[in-house]
Every structure is written in structure tokens, then in C-alpha cells.
């Protein structure tokens, strides 16, 4: 019994023990040790284990939780690989950095595997606590601390809202388990309390996944955080929140939540699109565009059922790969002067480093949804699933915003291929960065041209 439980928790334990023991590894090897621990956890996810009573453990060990854990662990490994340059040029304390990344991955895994509101809260807090430090990690960067503060205050507010929402749902239903909670209690007073609780939980989730009107922290945090951390924040933390929302909390079953979700989706698409148009900083542009992408993800949550779940997970995969790769490419261009964030600094990159300019173009075009890349396939499947579920006006809005998005994604691309007079020598990419960027490019191209295996995989792990 106890061995079964330990075996079911093995990937979580590997991440936890790894995050503690990496602190004792020498500076030069710490990031590689972090990569090793993350890959080990991802590998041990698929070690066969007996099904354990999930209410005993608060985390499920089903295929969906395991699939999510694998993806988060790979993202954590990619973050460690991309940060190698920062250890050299920005004097990062690499053992602490690797420990925090592993702890963050642990939080995301608990979040995606949660079967109870308690583990949901714990997972979200573990992830956020690690991010508070990671965002402010670069002490040479004058905007780093400010970005940390801008994540800290909304994060605090969101965790208080989440905790109060959970307490209200518990007061109304008397249980923390997620399965028992979706059916609302009878009795008018308890009904109102439960609705209020779920609304507060939804507000907290909107804060964490930066849905408009709770998105105001996003651009500042992305701009000030180190690029690999911003990539993990944009893909992993939002992905984990949406994995919970898609698989464990069927909020659409609660009828009064539907107009609220639809309003969040519509506002995110509009606000993100119009705020992204005038940006001249790549990280800020990616931040506002991520608000738009999260609006599309809410569309998948609204669609619900199997179709919405599969379309949402595929979209999350294509968005995550392109986002991590775009931030990773910025990280690979970093030297001791900092990251080339402005479009002006990226001008003429095609002349200095043609393959990196081509890759950045690929990632941005995939985010914009150009065929035959993964972003197009994801949007196609997602929008048609939402259309089948009857959300016509939201799909029209989504099509409009993705049409406009071509403008702000193509603006930096045009600058990349413009000849520039500046003779700035761009730094050479190292091995880890090549591996991450290459894998992401392969995923984006394959998932766009030949999505069958990806959908079969998602259908196999879907709960």
C-alpha cells in the first residue's frame, strides 16, 4: 500500500529531491543537473504503477496528469538549457536557479494533477512562489526587481481571491474534492455562496493566466524577467492553469459561469489585439499576444466535452512550443549588454545570423497562424470545435483578432530582413540552445503538416 503510493508519487519526489540536492552541485554543473532531474522525472512518469486511491493522495496518477507532468518537465529542462548563457554573461547563481525551476515544475505538475481544491491551491502557490524569485533573478537588470514586484502584487491578490473562493465553495458544499463540487448544492442561500466562490476562483485563474481585464501585469513582467523565465511563465504556468480548467474543473457545467467565461474570452481577444498593435518591443508584443491566445483557450474551455478538451490541448501544445522557442531565441542573442528586445536592435538579423532569423520568422508565423504550421492547425481545430458548440459570435471575434494579429507578428519579421547599417556582431548559439530551438521547430512543423499522431496521443491521455 505505502509502496504503491510512493511509486505513484515518484515523479513528484524526483523533482522535489532534485530541487534540494541541486543546491549542493558545483556552479558549473548545476544547470545540467537540473536538466537531468527534469528528464528523469519525465521518464519515470511512464513507470507502470498500481492505481492508488486518489482521494488519499490529493494528486491523481492517471495518464492525463502524467502527460502534463512530462510536458512541464520538458519545459523546465528547456529553461535550464536556455539559461546557460545567463550563468556566463549575467552571473546567475545557477544552483539556486535550477532549484527554483525544478520547484516551479513540481508546482505545475501538482496543479495539473490535482483532484482536490487543496492540491490545486498548493500547486498554484508552489509554482507562483518560485516565479516570484525567478522573475527578479537578474540582479544586473535594473527592471528585474520591478518586474518581480509587478508579479508579486497581482499574485498575492490572486492567491487571496483563490483561497476565499475555495473557502466559500467548501462552506457551501462541505467538500474539497473536485468531482463532488461541480453539481451545485440545493437551497438558494448555499447556491449563491457556491456561485460566488466559483466566481472568485475564476477571477484568480484569470489573474494567473492573464485574461483581460486582469492582464495589466503581463507586459511589464515579460519585459523585465530573463527571457527563459518569461518563456516558462508564458507557456508552463498558463498551460498548467488551463490544463486544470480543461480537464478537472468543468466550469461550463455551472450554467451561470458561461456568460462570465464568454465575456473574459471576448475582452481578452479585443484588449490584447489592440494593445499589441503599437508595440515596438518583442517581449511586450509577445505578452499582449499571449493575452489573445489565452482568450482562444477560454473558447476551448467553453466548448467543453471531448472536442473542446482535445482542441484546447493541441492549441496549448502549438502555442507553448512557439512561445518557448521565441523567448529562447531572444535568450540565445543575449550578451553582456542584455537582451535585444526592441525591433530596432533586431534589425538586419538575417544578415548576421540567417538561420536564427529564419527560425524566429517560423515561430512568429506559427503564432500568427499561417498554414502549414502548428498554429494554423490549432486555430482551425479549435475554432471549428467552438463553431460546432454554437459560439458563433465568439468565433467571428477570434477570426477578426487573428486576422489583425498578422500585422503585429509580421512587423518584427519585416525588420529582421531589412539591411541594417549597424555592424553589431551577434553572439554564437551554444549546444543547449540549438537542441531546444531545433526540437521546437520540428514540433511546430510536424504538428502543422502531420497532426494525426499528436491528436492520437492527446486522445489517449485525455481523461
Amino acid at each position: 500500500m505505502i509502496w504503491d503510493a510512493l511509486l505513484a508519487l515518484l515523479p513528484f519526489l524526483i523533482l522535489f529531491i532534485g530541487s534540494v540536492s541541486v543546491l549542493f552541485v558545483p556552479e558549473r554543473r548545476a544547470l545540467l543537473f537540473g536538466v537531468f532531474c527534469a528528464l528523469l522525472a519525465a521518464g519515470f512518469c511512464w513507470w507502470p504503477c498500481a492505481p492508488v486511491m486518489s482521494d488519499l493522495l490529493l494528486v491523481s496518477s492517471g495518464p492525463f496528469a502524467r502527460g502534463c507532468l512530462t510536458v512541464w518537465a520538458l519545459l523546465g529542462a528547456a529553461t535550464c538549457l536556455l539559461s546557460e548563457r545567463y550563468r556566463e554573461s549575467r552571473r546567475f547563481a545557477s544552483p539556486e536557479f535550477a532549484a527554483l525551476v525544478l520547484f516551479c515544475v513540481l508546482g505545475m505538475s501538482i496543479l495539473a494533477a490535482s483532484t482536490s481544491l487543496v492540491s490545486l491551491f498548493l500547486g498554484l502557490e508552489a509554482m507562483t512562489l518560485a516565479f516570484y524569485v525567478l522573475i527578479a533573478f537578474d540582479r544586473d537588470n535594473p527592471t528585474g526587481a520591478e518586474a518581480g514586484l509587478k508579479y508579486l502584487l497581482p499574485g498575492f491578490l490572486a492567491s487571496a481571491l483563490l483561497a476565499f473562493g475555495i473557502a466559500l465553495v467548501y462552506a457551501a458544499t462541505g467538500t474539497f474534492t473536485l468531482q463532488g463540487n461541480v453539481s451545485l448544492p440545493v437551497g438558494a442561500a448555499m447556491h449563491t455562496i457556491a456561485i460566488l466562490g466559483w466566481t472568485l476562483i475564476l477571477c484568480a485563474i484569470a489573474f494567473k493566466s492573464s485574461l483581460a481585464p486582469f492582464h495589466l501585469w503581463t507586459p511589464d513582467v515579460y519585459q523585465g524577467a530573463p527571457a527563459p523565465v518569461a518563456g516558462l511563465l508564458a507557456s508552463g504556468s498558463k498551460g498548467a492553469v488551463f490544463a486544470v480548467l480543461l480537464a478537472s474543473i468543468p466550469l461550463t457545467l455551472i450554467a451561470p459561469m458561461r456568460p462570465l467565461l464568454a465575456a473574459l474570452a471576448a475582452l481578452s481577444m479585443l484588449a490584447g489585439t489592440f494593445a499589441a498593435l503599437p508595440q515596438t518591443n518583442l517581449k511586450r508584443m509577445l505578452a499582449y499576444s499571449s493575452v489573445v491566445h489565452m482568450g482562444y483557450m477560454v473558447l476551448a474551455v467553453l466548448t467543453g466535452h471531448q472536442a473542446g478538451l482535445e482542441a484546447g490541448l493541441f492549441y496549448l501544445l502549438s502555442y507553448g512550443a512557439a512561445t518557448v522557442a521565441a523567448f529562447g531565441l531572444l535568450a540565445s542573442l543575449t550578451d553582456s549588454n542584455g537582451e535585444p528586445q526592441n525591433y530596432a536592435a533586431l534589425e538586419g538579423l538575417a544578415g548576421r545570423s540567417p538561420w536564427r532569423a529564419a527560425l524566429l520568422t517560423l515561430f512568429l508565423l506559427s503564432l500568427a497562424g499561417f498554414p502549414p504550421l502548428a498554429g494554423f492547425m490549432g486555430k482551425f481545430v479549435l475554432f471549428s470545435a467552438a463553431l460546432d458548440a454554437g459560439y458563433v459570435w465568439l468565433v467571428v471575434l477570434a477570426l477578426f483578432s487573428s486576422l489583425v494579429s498578422c500585422y503585429y507578428y509580421l512587423r518584427p519579421v519585416v525588420r529582421l530582413f531589412r539591411p541594417s547599417s549597424s555592424s553589431v556582431f551577434s553572439v554564437v548559439a551554444n549546444g543547449g540552445e540549438l537542441v531546444v530551438l531545433g526540437l521546437c521547430a520540428i514540433i511546430i512543423v510536424t504538428a502543422g503538416m502531420y497532426p494525426g499522431p499528436f491528436f492520437r496521443l492527446i486522445a489517449a491521455i485525455a481523461p
Binding site: L122, E125, L149, L152, L153, A171, T175
Partner: protein, 101 residues
């Protein structure tokens, strides 16, 4: 249960709103952190009240857990406050506006 659940919820709701107003209206970082603590204590009160109403101990356990999480959060936040005070010599949140666009 001697105190009805409704009274507990009203009191904790008032406490929560008081904390929320503190977070939204105060500009001093320390006062904002105190506001968040008030909000989390309102959550603890709700949990303990609901736990007594449903006669199961889960709510009280979660309240204990919440204290630990709140302590961890405040530790990180105070470290950041000290760091900001040293590097910018202010903890007024309106002064942190270096990034625009």
C-alpha cells in the same frame, strides 16, 4: 453550532473586503502586504466556521495549511521589499514605473 454559519460568513466577508480595500487603496508596500494578510485571515475564519458547520475536520486542516503558505509568501515578499528598498530607496508602489509601452 452556537454561532450560525451566516454570521461567520458575513464577518469574514467584511474582513475580506477590508483587506481588499487596503490592498487597492494603500500605496505603501508594507501596508499592501498587511492587507493581503487580513484577506487570508478572513479565509481562515470562513474555513474554520464551515468546518464546524459540516462537522468534518478538513476545513481546519486547510486553515493550518493556509497559515504555512501565507508565511512562505510573506517571507518571499519581505525579501523583495528589502531588495527594492536597497536598490531604489523607496517602497511606494507608484514610483515603480520604469517600463512603459
Amino acid at each position: 453550532m452556537i454561532v450560525p454559519l451566516g454570521h461567520v460568513l458575513i464577518l469574514s466577508g467584511l474582513l475580506f473586503v477590508a483587506g481588499l480595500l487596503g490592498v487597492l487603496l494603500r500605496r505603501n508596500l508594507i501596508m499592501i502586504l498587511i492587507g493581503v494578510e487580513v484577506m487570508l485571515n478572513a479565509v481562515g475564519l470562513t474555513l474554520v466556521g464551515a468546518s464546524a458547520y459540516w462537522r468534518n475536520p478538513e476545513g481546519q486542516l486547510f486553515a493550518l495549511l493556509l497559515m504555512a503558505v501565507a508565511a512562505a509568501e510573506v517571507t518571499v515578499a519581505l525579501a523583495l521589499v528589502v531588495y527594492l528598498k536597497r536598490s531604489r530607496s523607496t517602497i511606494d508602489v507608484n514610483r515603480f514605473n520604469g517600463m512603459q509601452g
